[in-house]
Subunit: 266 residues, 2 copies
């Protein structure tokens, strides 16, 4: 008997009418309250990927966490707002009992060969084999599905002078990377305010944008190797902070960036 990977269970969808999908929260990917935002984002990418009219691969997605998602079933409605020759725009809503919990816009598209340049370089960190495996406390269920090796920003109850976090991460059990898994890794970081304050405070992502550089071939080439995930915040002001993240392949290519705005109070 072949087992389904828990991540594939978590992002599984059933088409219930054209453009409308039924999903279900998955206990292994729960956060402290509700599902892990990364898996909600991944499920939205999967919804567009599942649509028969979809053109190309993800270029960007913005997910707005408008309200809580309760344990159980949810509906995802998808609508292609405009289809061009080289790209396609989508609007998506996640709802439960008729109330909108999440909204998203996504752009999918085809890529072409042209002038290319890797301007940024990855942070200089030790190889995964030189770093201890650690993680998040057990009550953060979703984190148990990731093998994490921190070069900076491991979760400790100590105030830090800066919010930088760098870790090697991959799914456990092992799973080949795809766009859904890459999307989820865009939200792999615990709230930067915990690191700065050295304690848990109320915090939650309001909006998350992911820009994809990786083509389907780039994602396939990564397979189940470690992804280098790196993030920092710029400002904590009047209850909101930002987080900009980079996700690097094991061969030092930038796969995606993610940008979020996070609510906090202290």
């Amino acid at each position: 008997m072949e087992m389904t990977h828990p991540f594939d269970d978590a992002v599984a969808l059933t088409s219930i009418e054209p453009g409308v999908y039924l999903g279900r929260t998955s206990a292994p990917y729960n956060n402290m309250v509700g599902p892990f935002g990364g898996v909600t984002a991944a499920t939205l990418v999967r919804a567009v990927e599942s649509h028969p009219d979809r053109h190309g691969d993800p270029l960007s997605i913005t997910i707005n966490f408008a309200g809580p998602i309760a344990e159980g079933e949810f509906q995802i409605s998808t609508r292609a707002t405009r289809t061009n020759r080289s790209n396609q725009h989508w609007y998506l809503e996640v709802s439960q009992n008729g109330e909108i919990a999440t909204t998203a816009t996504a752009v999918f598209g085809h890529r072409r060969d042209t002038w290319d340049d890797d301007e940024a370089t990855p942070p200089d960190v030790p190889a995964p084999s030189e770093l201890e495996q650690s993680g998040f406390p057990d009550f953060i269920a979703w984190a148990r599905n990731y093998e994490m090796r921190f070069a900076a920003g491991a979760l400790v109850e100590e105030e830090a002078a800066d919010s930088t976090i760098s870790l090697w991460v991959r799914d456990t059990p092992s799973r080949a990377l795809d766009f859904a898994a890459l999307t989820s890794m865009g939200d792999i970081f615990y709230p930067r305010v915990f690191q700065r304050r050295g304690k848990y405070v109320p915090a939650g992502t309001i909006t998350l944008t992911i820009h994809f550089f990786a083509t389907a071939e780039d994602v396939a080439a990564q397979a189940d190797s470690y992804v280098l995930a790196h993030a920092h915040a710029r400002r904590f002001h009047r209850g909101y902070f930002d987080q900009t993240a980079e996700l690097w392949s094991s061969d030092e290519k930038l796969l995606a960036t993610s940008h979020q705005l996070v609510y906090y109070k202290d």
Copy 2:
């Protein structure tokens, strides 16, 4: 007779039915093809600000440039997708002749006093008075509405090894900053691929996300002083590059960040 500032003309809207606004492209804010994306983004912020049900000030907006906007009138439809106690989520569409040209999601909200920290610092650049005023070529109409003083990345036809751009910018004629104007400045940079390649190539923003740190008081305090605008790209790959930008107040506070994904070919 008091003159209206050209920016206020450009973002002016007429309510035609509840939640639906009529706007008009404005020649002084044209780009090479169609309107300047920054003004389209600003007009969307203005649309939510105009809505009688709006709660609070902008926290974030993502604008997806799905298709061209032709000269003339356009409609903006706005819908509050969810209203919470402290924030409110919006979905917006710009359309012409029934076809969607632009989609957007926005989050507005109230802010609270809590722990605050300015972690990032502005780039180290000379004061505006120490820099020459320059700008973009005359055929880029919108740029003539901004006074620009470049510390790095002035538009020259020379290949550059990196994509970093830093400039002091303010409206000309002078105008006190507001959220719409700040939004527009989030797109003040010419495409980073021009700087790298030292030439004009086809390029256009696909999606633009702005995260706002500034409160209404912070914006008012800036008045008509210079904003320090700073941006760079990380990767140019298979026809898409990114641009992450910071907008700093004249007293070194981070007002907003912007993140875009841009189509290019060479």
